[in-house]
């Protein structure tokens, strides 16, 4: 199996197969990152498509090929941020309430016994302010170190760390409140 560097080199030499393989390798991660941020399946699809289109156009300019994944994720995060900025903050809550997100998640949820816990945790994630949510998703879903999270978010490492912990504390606080109720 070729590594990222080899696939990128293949792409730069005009191989469509290598590019396709590169997309196949990261499409799920990009899609899910976008979905965790915007909470809407259709928008997550648009973001995924747009992100790879940017890769297609901009990969030649990427100087360090080892940085492909963080570069791709930063494109995804920026696109997701633009999407969130464009619509009113309430709309994703509406989507969630209408079941857009819940609906698309159903397929996976059916396979899980602890359905309620999953829904609850995702709800809590979507109640976080966008920057905290981005930090939590990049750190927990993408498993990036804080240095990378900070780089993608365009902030200091300490800021990324405090956004992450603020998000975690907030989610736990809300979870605790619900448990008390």
């Amino acid at each position: 199996m070729k590594n990222d560097g080899e696939l990128i080199s293949g792409f730069l030499n005009g191989s469509a197969e290598d590019f396709e393989e590169l997309v196949r390798r990261y499409e799920r991660e990009v899609y899910c990152t976008a979905l965790h941020m915007v909470g809407n399946r259709e928008e997550a699809r648009d973001i995924t498509q747009e992100a790879f289109l940017r890769v297609l156009k901009g990969l030649r300019e990427l100087k360090d090929q080892r940085r492909f994944r963080p570069w791709l994720l930063s494109i995804t995060v920026n696109l997701a941020r633009d999407h969130l900025r464009k619509r009113s903050f309430g709309s994703w809550e509406d989507d969630f309430a209408k079941g857009t997100f819940g609906g698309c998640a159903d397929e996976a949820f059916q396979r899980l016994s602890r359905l309620q816990e999953r829904e609850e945790l995702l709800n809590l994630l979507f109640l976080l302010p966008p920057r905290q949510r981005v930090a939590v998703v990049l750190r927990i879903y993408n498993e990036l170190p804080f240095k990378e999270v900070a780089h993608i978010m365009g902030c200091e490492v300490a800021t990324a760390r405090s956004l992450f912990w603020a998000g975690i504390r907030e989610m736990r606080r809300r979870l605790g409140k619900r448990d008390e109720v």
Partner: protein
């Protein structure tokens, strides 16, 4: 010290030193908040990673669209089919394999058919070795049976001539046959003359 400070190195993806690990474990044992934070993060991680909402049809369509877009933009080089050698090794492997299988089957079929032991039937009898086929003699079925008996004596008990010869090294077969040829030749001569005499009597 705040709890999250203990998780700082975990957040950086670093390995903890022995001293830090010890401090971390001691803190961990005492601090409820730290344990709860960690448990919560693990739980959230399972939730975020456990999903499989992306549908393959969309991804397939997206990849196709992207490649098309790249072709339009001239990013991809479309290789003319004539520039690729047709007889590459993997491509040759399939027909060669087919030919080999056919030959093996044909040989197996031939060996299974041979010899037919109908009385009085005459046929070419070959001694088989892994090196090839050598025609020994043209024998009828009685002669063959006699030859079988002789060879059986020479090689020990064997269920069939073809079987015993095919698993015996060719040089050994030739040695044995030549060693027994003196016995074999008169036997065959005798049998032939007896049969000829029998036929004469019938007439």
């Amino acid at each position: 010290m705040k709890c999250e400070d203990f998780l700082k190195d975990w957040g950086e993806g670093k390995r903890l030193s022995f001293r830090k690990s010890l401090a971390f474990i001691l803190h961990w044992m005492r601090c409820r908040e730290c344990r709860e934070n960690y448990a919560f993060i693990r739980k959230l991680s399972r939730v975020l990673k456990g999903e499989e909402w992306a549908d393959e049809a969309f991804f397939r369509e997206m990849r196709r669209g992207l490649v098309e877009e790249g072709r339009k933009a001239g990013v991809f080089v479309s290789r003319p089919s004539s520039s690729r050698p047709f007889f590459t090794f993997p491509r040759l492997l399939v027909p060669l394999g087919g030919v080999l299988v056919t030959l093996t089957l044909a040989l197996a079929f031939f060996l299974l058919q041979f010899p037919s032991k109908e009385p009085g039937a005459s046929f070419d009898y070959g001694l088989y070795s892994w090196d090839g086929v050598v025609l020994v003699s043209q024998l009828d079925s009685d002669e063959l049976r006699a030859l079988e008996g002789e060879l059986e004596g020479a090689f020990g008990s064997c269920p069939s001539l073809v079987y015993s010869l095919s698993i015996t090294p060719w040089a050994e077969v030739m040695d044995q046959v030549s060693a027994n040829s003196r016995l074999l030749a008169p036997l065959l001569m005798e049998e032939r003359s007896e049969r000829a005499a029998g036929r004469m009597e019938e007439v």
